[in-house]
């Protein structure tokens, strides 16, 4: 029954073509429904990904440690040639100090499958021992194709699923909005650069998370919990979203007649998924603990490089790494993360709503990015996902934060020699964002808060006043533009070799904090006026 209702809604959405849209270039595509535009946009997104893949990967030609590319290749080599029980164990055949496997088992299985693929076409690239630091034309190609195929198999269908569900449940019904939304999700410059340039498989864990979010939006909570557990088992970083999932599902269960039964069902699903994925390591306690200890590399310190989060930025003033032991800084970061997550969690437990859930995802992932332990520059991808999902709500924030997310990764991408794709794909994003007559081009200053009620709170008003003040935005935009030029053309003074990185970090941090406050307050504003509507919708 539910499905039929949804189908009808899809048709309704398709049917809504306004006559006034004749002048819109999107129109020629979206007029035929959402599917054709999704087809075109996804082929284009794929083309862009292939083109980015032509560029170098992290650690190309840099022995002895190379980079993430070598790590992924090494994992394929290990998983292909060793028994599962040896994957996470240091042994004579598996030297964990050289890119030892430190992601959960699903990544290991994925590496195994990709290893089989590589072995059939280029056996040398995954040969045990001898393939260390293997680099070749065909090897690079095959590795790039493994990322592309994961993208096509996981991320693309997930985004289609999400955008369909979103357009039915929360959308405006304009087809050009849907097309724009799809392209904002698929053409996220940061994700493309990290996955297809730098070399990682974020598309899998983010795709699974997105599918889980879509499942939540369409009321399939059990499916959602399975999908989210899979995401968590692909990359432990997916835990950034855990507070939001937890609190929304908990809040929803509490609203039902039999909260305990529902909770038990969800719990069973979670435990079952974990049990399946972790099966090879559940034979003994010791095996499981070995894997777990690999997943939490506390010895690496509270932050790495120059990431724009609280610990790294404040280390300019307070030397966290010297002052405190690993043990105490771990407790600090855990408390700080949980405390900053708390408001959005409480909101979702009290008033679970779909839109609120999306904001909660954004808030909890930003809290984790800003305050959790051992955060990497690349972790900004996680907050960017819910932001892209909220693209139609948060148009200006999307543009602004994507800009600073890209900016915060500039030093990393510069090291990888990915400046040309950085510029090209950033321009592409801006162009697509401002597509003629698309939602991005239509939004202007007065419309940013169009969904908020008239009686906004003072605090909220103040934050959005600062965040969206034209003068502040103009000034920061100009600053970051100039810093781009300086960073790429000039050498830092000898006394402060990391001066530019530090300045970039400071600017990005200030924006991330500001917008975390803004999104938190926005989430709380939501409960004020959505409550009654959403209650009806939920039931």
């Amino acid at each position: 029954m539910k499905k039929k209702g949804e189908m009808k809604k899809v048709k309704k959405v398709k049917g809504k073509v306004h006559d006034g849209e004749h002048d819109d270039p999107w129109w020629s595509l979206v007029q035929n429904g959402i599917k054709p535009s999704f087809l075109c946009i996804s082929i284009f997104a794929l083309l862009v990904r292939v083109a980015v893949g032509l560029h170098p990967y992290s650690g190309a030609n840099t022995p002895p440690k190379f980079g993430d590319y070598e790590a992924q290749r090494h994992w394929m080599e290990i998983t292909l040639n060793l028994q599962p029980k040896d994957w996470y164990r240091n042994s004579s055949v598996n030297d964990l100090s050289y890119w030892g496997l430190d992601y959960p088992p699903l990544t290991a299985y994925q590496s195994y499958i990709h290893g089989v693929f590589l072995k059939t076409f280029d056996p040398d690239s995954v040969a045990l021992f001898t393939s260390g630091g293997y680099e070749s034309y065909i090897g690079k190609l095959l590795m790039r194709w493994t990322v592309l195929s994961s993208d096509v198999l996981v991320f693309f269908p997930a985004s289609l699923y999400f955008v369909f569900v979103y357009s039915i449940r929360l959308g405006t019904g304009r087809n050009s909005d849907v097309a724009w939304h799809i392209s904002m999700v698929l053409l996220n410059p940061c994700l493309i650069l990290i996955d297809h340039g730098h070399f990682q498989y974020n598309c899998i864990s983010l795709g699974l998370t997105m599918a889980a979010i879509a499942a939540v939006l369409s009321q399939k909570d059990l499916v959602a919990s399975v999908l989210y557990c899979l995401a968590l088992n692909h990359k432990q970083m997916s835990a950034y979203f855990a507070p939001a999932f937890f609190s929304y599902l908990l809040g929803k269960c509490l609203k039902n007649k039999n909260p305990l039964v529902d909770l038990a069902k969800l719990g069973l699903m979670v435990i079952g998924t974990f049990a399946v994925v972790w099966w090879p390591y559940l034979q003994s306690k010791e095996a499981a603990l070995t894997v777990i200890s690999r997943l939490a590399p506390f010895e690496r310190g509270i932050y790495e490089d120059y990431v724009a989060n609280f610990w790294c930025t404040s280390s300019v003033l307070v030397k966290w790494k010297k002052l405190y032991t690993t043990q105490s800084s771990r407790i600090f970061s855990l408390t700080a993360t949980l405390l900053t997550c708390l408001p959005s969690m409480v909101q979702q437990v009290l008033v679970p709503s779909r839109k609120g859930f999306l904001y909660a995802l954004l808030n909890s992932s930003f809290s984790f990015y800003l305050f959790s332990y051992q955060v990497h520059e690349k972790s900004i991808l996680l907050p960017l996902l819910p932001l892209a999902l909220l693209a139609l709500e948060e148009r200006r924030s999307l543009l602004w934060l994507t800009h600073f997310a890209m900016f915060s990764m500039l030093p990393l991408l510069h090291r990888d020699k990915l400046i040309l794709p950085y510029m090209a794909i950033y321009t592409l994003f801006i162009l697509v964002y401002f597509a003629p007559d698309g939602p991005g081009a239509r939004c202007n200053g007065s419309k940013t808060l169009d969904h908020s009620p008239k009686k906004t709170r003072r605090g909220m008003e103040f934050i959005s006043f600062i965040a969206f003040h034209p003068f502040v935005m103009g000034f920061l935009g100009l600053c970051s533009l100039i810093l781009h030029v300086i960073y790429l053309t000039m050498h830092p003074p000898n006394r402060y070799p990391f001066l530019f990185e530090a300045v970039i970090m400071l600017i990005c941090f200030s924006q991330f904090v500001l917008f975390t406050l803004y999104f938190n307050s926005k989430q709380w504003m939501l409960s004020k006026h959505v409550t009654s509507q959403d209650k009806q919708k939920l039931i």
Binding site: H22, L29, N32, I43, A51, L420, P436
Partner: protein, 512 residues
């Protein structure tokens, strides 16, 4: 209802730049991709134009890539070399620059192509500014996002986009009735790349009958003006070489007839059938016991010399091909003579290039762009044109596939063609929708965009040929008959181009 904006509305220009910007970002991303020896050819021309005096440009033999484009292109290279010298002097060094593959050289040359495409943008803008907005978008999609141009210019490496800008500009001026300007631009274009000269007879007849009309005196006066303009353009280009007494050398370099009838990879034209027929007859005769000596030069070997490559059928000379092109062109010339109409010029020019492509001497597969780019302007005029363009555009792009033979670019070319096909399909479906209100007058005839089963199965055949060449052939036959996949591609595409030729001929004769 047709929505018309004012010709120079800023919104229209902004949107045009949006389309161009999207294409530019993709072009920038493609910079590190495979490039052919044409990159080195053009780099060497930069070096020739920069390091040598004008009098030695067409004599230099430092590299095997001698300058074989007309003088304006050489001047253009001279202009580019100023900037190249600023960026990295080694790019323009005659000897040290040979086979120079540093990032600076590749980036400079790639970006120079991207920037010169601004001229294409201008040409497209001028030629579409009077169209209704939806049709305008469609033409932009076909020209600015043309996968063929992207493959040839930004992967293989050439400066075609810039030259097509001139061609479109010239066509649109003629279509607007500004004949002198159109003729002038075409003359300039000829001095950039002489391959465009195939359309010269059409231009000549058209200008003679359309521009130089209105009585004997007035006609003669106009003819003199036109002649003066053309002579002035050619004098600007070739004057210095005439002055140095080198004109023969320039001509010899520009027309290297020793290169043979077909290129290493056969362009999908009429001669493919001729060669196949020759091989078939020779095979049959040998079966029947005749002693047929194998030809000295073989087409499949790649290198083609002066010796006759045919076993049975008569030898083809440049003269034969020239006469055949003119013969094929004559109906169109006759029609233009009888009734020179501005609206038909794009069709006639495209038809001329089709004839040149089908019957010409040493035709390169890249020349199929000469057909599809001008036809993009008329593709939006009617349903039949749209159907024809759809087919032709796919075939023309697919025939360029052998240019990119490395594994790395394989997904790129496939995705480009796929995206283009799907975009075209939806664009035409929008332009000619199923429930169109305008179809009431001919309700019996189906008015919306759809392909017949012949066209559909032909396009499906493209997929089959590609799968055979890429996967089944290496799997089933291994290293045997290595030329077969390429031969199949050119045979298959030749059928499509031949169909397009007949269709265009019919269209030109029927349109009145």
């Amino acid at each position: 209802m047709e929505l018309r904006e004012s010709p120079r509305s800023p919104a229209g220009v902004k949107q045009l730049f949006w389309f161009f910007g999207i294409a530019t970002t993709v072009k920038l991303l493609l910079i590190p991709a495979y490039h052919s020896t044409d990159l080195e050819v053009h780099r060497h021309w930069l070096a020739i134009a920069h390091s040598l005096p004008l009098s030695q440009w067409y004599y230099d033999e430092t590299s095997e890539w001698t300058l074989d484009y007309p003088p304006f292109f050489a001047y253009f290279e001279r202009f580019l070399s100023i900037f190249a010298n600023l960026i990295d002097p080694r790019i323009v060094h005659l000897h040290h620059g040979l086979n120079y593959k540093a990032d600076s050289a590749i980036y400079f040359q790639r970006i120079s192509v991207i920037i010169s495409d601004l001229f294409l943008l201008y040409g497209v803008h001028i030629s579409t500014r009077n169209l209704a907005s939806l049709k305008r978008y469609l033409v932009w999609v076909f020209v600015i996002w043309s996968p063929g141009l992207l493959i040839v210019d930004h992967l293989h490496f050439q400066y075609n986009g810039f030259l097509f800008g001139w061609l479109l500009l010239s066509i649109s001026f003629i279509a607007q009735g500004r004949d002198l300007m159109g003729g002038f631009l075409f003359a300039v274009l000829l001095c950039f790349k002489h391959l465009f000269a195939v359309a010269a007879p059409v231009y000549f007849v058209y200008l003679l009958r359309h521009y130089c009309r209105g009585g004997l005196v007035r006609g003669f006066a106009r003819l003199s003006v036109l002649g003066a303009v053309v002579v002035a353009v050619f004098a600007a280009a070739y004057g210095p070489f005439v002055y140095y007494g080198q004109i023969q050398q320039v001509i010899r370099r520009m027309f290297p007839f020793g290169r043979g009838l077909c290129h290493a990879y056969w362009a999908p034209n009429f001669w493919v059938f001729y060669i196949m027929l020759d091989k078939g007859i020779a095979f049959l005769l040998r079966k029947f016991g005749f002693n047929i000596p194998a030809p000295v030069a073989s087409f499949t070997g790649g290198l083609v010399g002066d010796a006759s490559p045919f076993a049975v059928l008569p030898q083809i000379t440049p003269m034969t091909t020239f006469i055949m092109v003119l013969l094929a062109l004559s109906p169109c010339l006759f029609k233009t003579w009888r009734d020179p109409r501005p609206r038909l010029i794009a069709r006639s020019v495209a038809y001329a290039y089709t004839c040149g492509f089908l019957f010409g001497w040493h035709v390169h597969e890249k020349a199929s762009l000469h057909i599809s780019i001008p036809l993009a302007l008329v593709a939006v005029e009617s349903l039949e044109d749209a159907k024809h363009f759809f087919l032709l555009s796919v075939v023309s792009c697919y025939s360029l596939f052998p240019l990119l033979f490395e594994a790395q670019e394989y997904p790129i070319k496939v995705l480009l063609l796929l995206l283009h096909t799907i975009l075209m399909w939806f664009c035409f479906c929008t332009l000619f929708p199923k429930n169109s209100k305008g179809s009431s007058r001919t309700s019996a005839v189906e008015q919306w965009f759809k392909l017949g089963w012949v066209a559909k199965s032909y396009l499906l055949g493209v997929v089959v040929v590609e799968i055979w060449g890429q996967f089944l052939h290496p799997y089933l036959l291994g290293d045997k008959l290595p030329f077969l996949p390429l031969m199949l591609i050119s045979m298959y595409c030749a059928i499509g181009i031949l169909y397009s030729w007949i269709w265009q001929l019919k269209r030109i004769i029927m349109l009145s």
